[in-house]
């Protein structure tokens, strides 16, 4: 352990060296790097380090405390799992971009001031886009561009907010802020974009399913959870977040149920899970914030596990469409088991990780007597089980046999999935270890009879609904289709609606320019006729124009001063 050395720097600088290693050594190096960095983090004492002074403000580039530690730790775990999962791939772009991305997210979590936060915030955007582009298809390139524009845009809004916030308050440190000032509002908006608030969420479903199999695993871990951390740090207890979060839990369910691309289903369910964390941040009590941190921790693990299993399917079959898959449990038994464990975790089955964290949030909501929000969360929990817990494993691995026979996932993928699955179960069975590292002291018992029974009732009835709908064949069939989300409004609708306006504008400009050109020609012709031929004159028109302008300005000044 080197005191004051930010683990983020180990990762970022180390990642830049990845392409220099020849292949057998590169594998060792990319796994060792995040492990070394994690060791540095775990052994490091709490406090503020590596202060730097710049433009008259003090930057706290490395602040490690209760809240940032747990996020730093889970980001490290996700980085390790992400590189192990992709180790069979020889493409150096993946570990390089992935580790820089992880380092940037960790650096942002440890940022003690807003300038440092901004720098790492933009770095996450710039590095992660390569995980999308690495798929090297035309649609991935375009989706990556859209993703980049929105992510960089979030950073620009953040910077504007930081500047205004600094001017209003005189503080640059990254602590609690409020929504009363313009600066605070802009920063909130920037966080909201990364956190995929409703109507700002489309970049997520647009880009994550376009990334490489292993890229999505990393993408799902960092960007949005960093935003949750930022909200918890800056806007804990902001009432508006409760309603934003509740909406986030509910609306993706409808899209997830009808979506065919299974990785896109997972992207919608990611949105829904974020909603739980945002609600918890909005409540802002110690129990709720513990719940948000714990849920982020568990969520990164089981969401990565689900994306890993879908990534394995994508690698082996070349597709992730529910309509083309089915019956894969015969070919990929290990992946099937892991996927079911991930599905059980996200559905919050007792003894799986989602249960111990989600119940904290639901209890916190109940503790505040927010009945309506509580009902929405319960509805959302049932919905999660429906689309992630049953739909994903059912359509991929069971359902009607698609006839696809393929190999089991490569060893590296199986190792990564195995570790994630073990962690999911481990946390579910022994929640004490997770509770020990939460930001606030925990006196919460997840396994009470009431909790367990409520949750089981919910899950059973949800399963019943699915079964009944399947039996009566009224479940929305998996079709090859494109579902319109709200981004249609700005991607297509706005262009269509603006078409007449732009056409009119361009026509007007064209007319204006032709008139001007005619006018110019006529004037020039006049000069040529009256004064004489030659190019020299047409140039001197410009000079005399300039002189006229000068004399005009002088006249204005003189009149103003002398009269």
């Amino acid at each position: 352990m080197i005191e004051g050395l930010n683990p983020a720097l180990i990762l970022i600088i180390g990642a830049l060296l990845v392409p220099l290693f020849p292949q057998p050594w590169r594998r060792v190096y990319v796994i060792a790097l995040p492990l070394v960095s994690m060791l540095q983090l775990v052994l490091h004492p709490f406090g503020t380090f590596a202060e730097a002074s710049m433009y008259d403000v003090t930057l706290e580039t490395f602040r490690i405390d209760n809240l940032s530690f747990i996020f730093g730790l889970i980001f490290h775990i996700a980085a390790v799992l992400g590189v192990i999962y992709a180790i069979h791939d020889d493409d150096p772009i993946h570990p390089t971009a992935g580790l820089i991305y992880a380092g940037a997210a960790i650096g942002a979590a440890f940022a003690g001031d807003l300038i440092t936060l901004f720098v790492y915030w933009e770095l996450t955007a710039a590095s992660s886009v390569f995980l999308i582009w690495a798929r090297r298809t035309e649609s991935a390139f375009k989706a990556g561009m859209r993703y980049l524009v929105i992510q960089i845009g979030s950073g620009v809004i953040l910077l504007a907010g930081v500047v205004l916030h600094y001017r209003e308050t005189g503080f640059i440190s990254f602590n609690e802020m409020n929504l009363e000032s313009i600066g605070g509002k802009l920063i909130f908006l920037a966080f909201g974009i990364k956190c995929a608030f409703p109507f700002l969420h489309n970049w997520l479903q647009d880009s994550y399913p376009e990334a490489t199999a292993s890229g999505t695993v990393l993408l799902s871990a960092f960007t949005t959870k960093l935003a949750v951390y930022a909200l918890a740090r800056g806007y804990a207890g902001t009432d508006m977040l409760i309603w934003i979060g509740a909406l986030m839990t509910a609306f993706p369910i409808f899209f997830a149920v009808i979506e065919n691309d299974l990785r896109r289903v997972l992207a919608y369910s990611l949105n829904n899970q974020l909603g739980f964390m945002v609600v918890a941040v909005g409540i802002g009590t110690p129990l709720a914030l513990n719940g948000a941190a714990a849920h982020a921790f568990c969520h990164i693990l089981y969401k990565a596990l689900l994306f890993m299993s879908m990534g394995a399917v994508l690698l082996r079959t070349g597709t992730c469409k529910g309509s083309e898959l089915g019956g894969l449990y015969k070919s990929m038994p290990f992946t099937t088991v892991c996927c079911i464990i991930g599905a059980a975790s996200i559905s919050a089955f007792p003894l799986f990780s989602g249960f111990v964290s989600k119940s904290m949030i639901v209890s916190a909501v109940a503790g505040e007597h927010l009945t309506f929000v509580w009902l929405m969360l319960i509805f959302a929990s049932a919905g999660v089980f429906h689309h992630s817990g049953i739909k994903i494993p059912y359509f991929a691995f069971f359902a009607h046999d698609s006839g696809i026979r393929c190999e089991e996932a490569p060893l590296s993928m199986r190792v990564a999935m195995g570790i994630s699955a073990a962690l999911c179960i481990g946390i579910g069975v022994f929640p004490g270890a997770l509770y020990a590292i939460l930001p606030y002291p925990v006196d919460y018992v997840p396994y009470t009879a009431a909790h367990v029974i409520t949750q089981l009732q919910l899950l059973m009835y949800s399963a019943l609904a699915f079964t009944v709908m399947m039996l009566w064949k009224i479940y929305p069939p998996e079709l090859r289709s494109t579902n319109l989300d709200t981004d249609w409004l700005y991607r297509k609708g706005a262009t269509e609606a603006l078409l007449p306006v732009t056409a009119l504008a361009s026509q007007t400009t064209k007319d204006l320019f032709t008139t001007l050109a005619k006018l110019k020609e006529k004037t020039l012709g006049l000069f040529e006729k009256t004064v004489g031929p030659g190019a020299w004159l047409s140039r001197s028109v410009d000079s005399s124009g300039m002189v006229a302008l000068t004399m005009g300005s002088l006249l204005v000044f003189l009149l103003l001063y002398l009269l």
Partner: protein, 498 residues
């Protein structure tokens, strides 16, 4: 023994001017271009050393007064050097010397060997007269050096390979002459009122004439005359052509120095000679300057976005950037003035670097149209890399020099509670992203035209100065003691003098 250095130090202000001024005729005596280049380069780097020594002496707020020929002011010509003078001196000599170093290769492709020595002579003369404008404490002397620099500049521009360079130079000649005449009239009026030409003396004697119409006329003539030289909107039309058609590397020198020195003269006269209260209080310069500079920033940025020639695009961007400096000055508060002085230095550095990188590309492609430069990021990665860093600096991304000056400018606008102005500045930054992004997009992502598919990386003698500019851009984005630190002291001095 210790006598000699201390005597030399006392004579430094004169040495600063004479180094380049004397090297110029020496250069003209040789027919050998390479030899002249060596002399010119040595003279300009010696001049840089001299400027550093002067900056060292006045660092922290001192000032030097030197009597030319031993005649005491206000009868003799006085040379005054304070921190503002020193930073402008450094700007002119350092960036001039860097361009000079890169000049030889760039020139060899467009000029016969024998002609080159004359070109170096003109270049040195231009540099010497810019140094003269900066250090002199005599109003009439400013005009004389301004004329010398203008004459030298016309020659430099007219040497461009394109025939249109001649017209551009001719137009600049007309506008420059009008500007100089106006300034002459302004100085003449002041002389009529006070009987003195020494700037310090003038500032003491002018307040008693503040209600005199002659002084008001003098101020109007001065403002318009110098605004022409600064290329302030809407008197900027000479600049795009002059920059576009002049020889490649020359543009780098002109863009860095000529307009900045004119801006320096503007600040000197308005704040020190006429006085802040007179200029901004009685004459309401702010109400005219603020809307004009904002309009200039927006119009020129927008024009830059639609250019399809890289040199012309950067020239229009220069007009916009000069608007930033004028706005910073017109804000009339500590942050605004700090930004004006800082941006003077930072923009000189970034724009010189950009034009030089562009000159390196044109050295291979023989054309500055964006179509010819497409895909050059693959054939000339080092040059394009430097260009990209400098371009990002010009946009004002954090940790580059451009961010520092924009930060102070936005702060200055917010200090006055001018939120709309701050928003317009952000919008103009977005336009900067558009025009820099447009060039980078072409350079990196478009396929190269067939005839340029296998051009080589630029010569090292040009590449190294480019990278020095690029690295300085990052350095001054992090360590701001020399730029913003000094500018802050200058700003409080200028405002405190009122």
């Amino acid at each position: 023994m210790s006598q000699i250095p201390s005597q030399l130090v006392e004579q430094l202000p004169a040495v600063q001017l004479l180094l380049t001024l004397l090297a110029a005729p020496i250069c003209s005596m040789f027919r050998n271009g390479d030899l002249s280049w060596r002399i010119a380069t040595v003279a300009s780097w010696a001049s840089v050393a001299c400027a550093f020594a002067l900056l060292h002496q006045v660092w922290g707020g001192g000032s030097i007064s030197y009597e030319m020929g031993g005649w005491p002011p206000p009868w003799g010509i006085e040379v005054v050097i304070d921190e503002l003078t020193a930073i402008v001196l450094l700007l002119v000599t350092l960036f001039g010397a860097l361009v000079m170093t890169a000049l030889r290769k760039s020139l060899s492709s467009i000029m016969r060997h024998q002609r080159q020595s004359l070109y170096y002579t003109t270049f040195l003369l231009c540099m010497a007269s810019l140094i003269g404008i900066t250090i002199t404490g005599d109003a009439f002397n400013v005009l004389v050096f301004l004329e010398i620099s203008s004459l030298a500049t016309y020659t430099l521009i007219a040497r461009g390979r394109d025939r249109r360079a001649l017209t551009a130079a001719f137009r600049y000649l007309i506008m420059g002459t009008i500007g100089a005449t106006f300034i002459l009239i302004a100085i003449g009026f002041m002389y009529m009122l006070t009987g003195t030409l020494n700037m310090a003396d003038l500032s003491e004697r002018l307040p008693e004439h503040y209600d005199n119409k002659v002084l008001h006329a003098s101020f109007a003539f001065f403002t318009i005359g110098i605004a022409l030289k600064v290329a302030m909107f809407p008197l900027h039309y000479w600049l795009p052509n002059a920059y576009t058609y002049s020889p490649k590397a020359t543009t780098a020198f002109l863009a860095a120095t000529a307009t900045k020195v004119s801006l320096y003269v503007m600040i000197r006269f308005i704040f020190d000679v006429y006085g802040v209260e007179f200029a901004f209080g009685q004459m309401q310069l702010g109400t005219l300057l603020v809307p004009l500079s904002i309009a200039g920033i927006l119009v020129a940025s927008l024009t830059a976005v639609f250019q399809d020639d890289a040199k012309r695009l950067l020239a229009w961007s220069s007009v916009a950037q000069l608007g930033y400096m004028a706005l910073g000055m017109a804000l009339l508060n500590a942050n605004g003035l700090t930004s004006a002085v800082t941006h003077m230095f930072n923009h000189a550095m970034m724009k010189a670097g950009l034009f030089l990188a562009l000159a390196t590309m044109i050295y291979r492609t023989q054309s500055s149209s964006l179509a010819a430069l497409s895909g050059i990021g693959r054939t000339m990665p080092w040059t394009t890399g430097a260009f990209a860093i400098l371009g990002i600096g010009l946009i004002g991304v954090p940790f580059t020099a451009g961010f520092v000056s924009k930060w102070y400018l936005v702060s200055g606008a917010l200090d006055k509670d001018w939120l709309p102005v701050a928003i317009l500045l952000i919008i103009s930054s977005l336009m900067a992203i558009a025009y820099i992004g447009k060039m980078l997009d072409v350079m990196y992502f478009k396929p190269a035209p067939a005839e340029f598919a296998d051009i080589k990386e630029g010569p090292k003698s040009m590449l190294i100065p480019c990278w020095i500019f690029a690295l300085l851009t990052i350095y001054f984005g992090i360590d701001t003691r020399l730029t913003a630190g000094l500018a802050g002291r200058v700003a409080s001095n200028l405002l405190g003098a009122s």
